[in-house]
């Protein structure tokens, strides 16, 4: 059994390497074949992948909230809460304007769940509802969320929202309801369907607006565009000092 696994792993590594080499050869031109593919629906998410995003804030414009609207539309938050006031409504993603007090330098960036490798929200959750999948996506298992909001106290990014009222007609792909906590899922349904080819709703909307500031990909795959971009340009994490190893990285902050 273990031999079988080892063989399987070696085989994968070999195939990955070979495919990687093939891709590199064509890389300057058009990439004809993606190295990694979406896994079949019956296969669970694996720690071989670590999904993440690189957000180039130099391409992100201050008045634009296309990513926020794209997320709202795809995940159905924000417009079906009728009683909650502005401070009570859910926010899976928001645009933050940052200004350097001394130099006056300003920039704008979207902030959502950063999909930490060491998520404080997962640490503090009493029931295990706040969880991280093997592929690094941090989610809330609303089936066992009791609504204590400890995760919201623990999140350094204010990425989580609590649903303050009864909801109806949610989107089938984004179940959400009163008394439970929720956050950005990295558009997990798309990731599960399309794997490395997935485009989260925020990235899709950003591209549609012509900004192309958000790049999604697999940080564990050295040949992914995300890994290549991170290798070439670095990428900063918000509150890097906390050592949480974030899945969302930024350029130009």
């Amino acid at each position: 059994m273990t031999d079988q696994n080892r063989f399987e792993e070696a085989r994968r590594r070999f195939l990955k390497g070979a495919a990687g080499a093939a891709t590199l050869a064509i890389a300057p031109g058009v990439i004809l074949h993606q190295v990694a593919r979406a896994r079949p629906a019956s296969q669970p998410a694996s720690s071989e992948n670590r999904w993440g995003m690189l957000i180039d804030t130099t391409k992100c414009s201050s008045g634009c909230d296309a990513c926020v609207r794209g997320c709202q539309e795809y995940n159905g938050w924000g417009d079906n809460e009728v009683h909650s006031d502005a401070a009570q409504k859910a926010h899976w993603i928001r645009k933050v304007e940052v200004r350097n007090r001394q130099t006056g330098y300003t920039h704008s960036l979207p902030v959502m769940c950063q999909h930490c490798k060491y998520p404080p929200c997962v640490d503090v959750c009493p029931t295990g509802a706040s969880m991280k999948r093997d592929d690094g996506i941090v989610l809330v298992d609303k089936h066992i969320c009791i609504g204590c909001r400890y995760c919201m106290m623990a999140c350094p990014y204010k990425a989580r929202s609590f649903v303050h009222e009864e909801l109806h007609d949610q989107l089938p792909t984004a179940p959400r309801g009163k008394g439970t906590v929720e956050a950005c899922t990295l558009c997990v349904q798309r990731v599960d369907k399309d794997g490395p080819e997935a485009v989260p709703a925020c990235a899709e909307a950003c591209a549609a607006e012509g900004h192309n500031a958000i790049l999604f990909g697999d940080m564990n795959d050295p040949n992914s565009k995300l890994s290549k971009a991170l290798e070439k340009y670095g990428g900063t994490q918000i509150r890097e000092d906390l050592g949480l190893d974030l899945g969302v990285r930024y350029l130009g902050i």
């Binding site: 645009k95 940052v98 503090v124 350094p156 609590f162 009222e165 009864e166």
Partner: protein, 402 residues
């Protein structure tokens, strides 16, 4: 050798007793009404929001839970540290600890987004979560203190009660450390993330629990016509003074730490200087009412001897404690998260600005309901169990005193 202390149930059950029960029942009914509404409609009817995720219910709940472990202290001092003066109050002290914990937990549970899923919290555990530890610490506390109480009251077991008392003391220290850790171990917020918070909560608990114990004992003794001498009162109020002074010391060290470290100047400025209601509650509520007034009273040469004044000192400690919880919990949340140190940030979602929060009536009623639960449990306990000593006269408390 101390004189034998006689404990007796409360025999009186006149209009005063029923009136008290009715009043406390009303508080509980109002609390349940609030909880029903919060669950039925959702939390939008409260003042809580995505920034202030723990609001007024948590102020009451954490206060009651912290006070619960502190209420046990009088029993611990007699059983663990051998101060026989406090022994007559050990039963009241232990029972009050359980009552306050039940009241606090009720508020905490009824504020959950999904209180109907309480069973989930009992069946699914993440053992890295302090809340998960607390589920065991709280239920275990009730069991251990219950055992301690039983062994104190049941003659065949009485020779063992010191063991239970020691274990209960250890348990309560761990419990309050856990409660302080809920905040102290949070790296996200500027006001928290301090190792001093768990021990500070332990010290707070000494003061809050004792203040409640003093008031309940004075009221119960007076309303049942049982004598209470000067010795016990003097000891209790001096102890209260020490606990209040220690609390203040910890608060000073906490703020000095934050003031010394440049990164925390923002949050310190907010709490101490320009945080509006939080600043006012800190200086007037926590410091003036909670520390300075009680200290002035208990150490005043004449006021310190007045029963009324000592009762007021206890009331002040409780009010100051509620103010402290409000500043710690809600003030700590109201100060914006620092996403980019040194930068100014803004957004359409309250980034870089102080969060708005106004407690709703529902939240206050729920919190008061918790107090009602704690007090009704205490009243019924003293009524039907041999908790309250027949006399706290000097001769009973301390036969060696003149």
């Amino acid at each position: 050798m101390t004189a034998k202390v006689h404990y007796r149930e409360i025999v009186q059950s006149g209009t005063g007793f029923w009136g008290l029960l009715a009043f406390l029942g009303l508080l509980i009914a109002l609390g349940l009404f609030a909880a029903y509404n919060m669950e039925h409609h959702g939390h939008w009817i409260t003042g809580m929001n995505q920034q202030i995720v723990w609001g007024t219910p948590h102020v009451f709940a954490v206060f009651l839970i912290v006070a619960a472990s502190g209420a046990l202290n009088t029993a611990s001092i007699s059983s663990v540290f051998g101060k026989s003066v406090y022994k007559p109050l050990a039963r009241v002290s232990a029972f009050l600890a359980i009552s306050l914990l039940v009241g606090g937990l009720a508020v905490l549970v009824l504020d959950l987004g999904r209180p109907d899923r309480l069973i989930v919290a009992m069946t699914h555990y993440n053992f890295k979560s302090i809340f998960a530890w607390n589920i065991f610490l709280y239920t275990g506390f009730m069991a251990v203190v219950g055992l301690y109480l039983w062994w104190m009251m049941d003659p065949p077991w009485q020779r063992h009660y010191r063991i239970a008392g020691f274990f209960a003391f250890l348990w309560r220290i761990i419990l309050t450390t856990g409660t302080g850790g809920i905040f102290g171990f949070l790296v996200a917020r500027q006001a928290y993330d301090e190792a001093i918070m768990p021990p500070m909560f332990v010290i707070f608990s000494f003061a809050y629990g004792l203040a409640i114990l003093i008031l309940i004992t004075m009221a119960a003794m007076k309303w049942t016509g049982r004598p209470m001498g000067e010795v016990i009162l003097r000891r209790l109020k001096n102890l209260l003074g020490i606990f209040v002074a220690s609390s203040m010391y910890f608060v000073i060290v906490y703020h000095l730490t934050k003031l010394y470290i440049t990164a925390f100047h923002g949050v310190e400025r907010f709490i101490l200087l320009d945080g509006g209601v939080y600043t006012a509650l800190f200086w007037i509520g926590q410091v003036l009412v909670g520390y300075l007034l009680p200290l002035a009273i208990v150490y005043h040469p004449t006021l310190g001897k007045s029963r009324t004044a000592v009762a007021w000192a206890s009331v002040f400690v409780i009010l100051g404690g509620l103010a402290q919880m409000y500043v710690t919990i809600i003030g700590g949340e109201a100060y914006p998260l620092v996403l980019f140190p040194g930068m100014e940030i803004s957004s359409s979602y309250h980034d870089g600005v102080v969060a708005e929060y106004a407690p709703s009536l529902y939240e206050v009623l729920l919190g008061i309901g918790g107090i009602g639960i704690a007090l009704i449990a205490m009243t019924l306990g003293m009524k039907h169990l041999k908790l309250l000593p027949e006399s706290l006269e000097d001769a009973v408390v301390d036969p060696h005193a003149s």
